[in-house]
Symmetry: C2
Subunit: 191 residues, 2 copies
């Protein structure tokens, strides 16, 4: 249960839900530039957690007074607003990803999305990024088992589209990947 909000400057985090059977579902990764823990400020008792996946650099957002601050600081309110609607778009896309795409397309889509978001904030070139996740983490975000994810990654590697070794993701064939995953970056672009 998160009581505090932050802006993430460096590092990775993720928000997830712990299930009673011991498994968990990661529903979003938080990358540099993202707000963390906003949802918990406004929705009472949401059953979700946030954990850092690397060392992180954050700055606190004064939580308790956030709402009252909006009146005095419309700039902050606007920032939070943009962030929340951006998150909405990302969450919606994840629903589409998990609900409608097979494991192969789904995996490709998430890997591209993360690369795109990192590149967007200047933390990676377009076709390569450092990825602190384990295969288990990834699987828990994709709604598949880590065993099956491993097979999916092998296939993507064998077809020379994408490799994920030693915590480095390389997007070898972006055109093929984008076609496979039907990736359209529009949902990541603010007005």
């Amino acid at each position: 249960p998160v009581q505090q909000a932050y802006v993430l400057h460096e590092g990775w985090a993720c928000s997830y839900r712990q299930m009673s059977d011991g498994s968990r579902q990661i529903f979003d990764f938080r990358l540099p530039g993202d707000f963390v823990g906003l949802m918990g400020l406004m929705v009472d008792g949401v059953n979700y957690n946030v954990v850092a996946l690397t060392d992180v650099v954050v700055s606190e957002v004064n939580a308790s007074k956030l709402v009252s601050t909006f009146r005095q600081s419309p700039m902050l309110a606007e920032g939070v607003l943009w962030s929340l609607s951006g998150d909405n778009a990302i969450l919606a896309e994840h629903i589409v990803n998990i609900g409608r795409r097979g494991a192969l397309e789904r995996t490709a889509h998430l890997m591209i999305e993360i690369g795109y978001r990192l590149n967007r904030v200047g933390f990676a070139p377009a076709d390569r990024y450092e990825c602190p996740l384990t295969q288990k983490d990834l699987a828990e975000a994709l709604g598949i088992t880590h065993v099956h994810l491993n097979r999916v990654l092998r296939q993507l590697r064998e077809e020379e589209m994408l490799s994920f070794n030693d915590h480095i993701v390389t997007l070898h064939d972006m055109p093929a990947l984008t076609r496979l995953a039907e990736f359209e970056p529009a949902y990541l672009n603010n007005r």
Copy 2:
């Protein structure tokens, strides 16, 4: 592509993404009291649609000037803020639902959620509501086929937990349903 935002006063709507193979994924239903189309105002060119599922009564939100209005009308900004974070919580829960639960639990969870939300705004008693959806609509929200949903509904009916006939949903055994779906309404409660 939605260019306008509304507040939904009566009726149902849903936001969905149309896939290239003709299928679609509904990622949220909009019920009385919800904002509709907020996301499209801030995220540029998001590939999603909204459609009314019944006759609806709405009021427009002045879209083009929404953001600039925030400065003069902090009340509106706050309202939008609450709405967006509430939507975030709902979307996150849908990811958990689709990613981690089997078809039976998943179906139960969504049916309870909708009932809870309707009851919350005074549009239905606790254990029964009118539901304009077809089985195909429901399946498209749950990420399963309408054929399989039909079998799931039969099972829920045979086990006397829930029935969905003639566009009336009846939650016959709430304790059993809540247990089955591990439903926890916390994510629907604003602070």
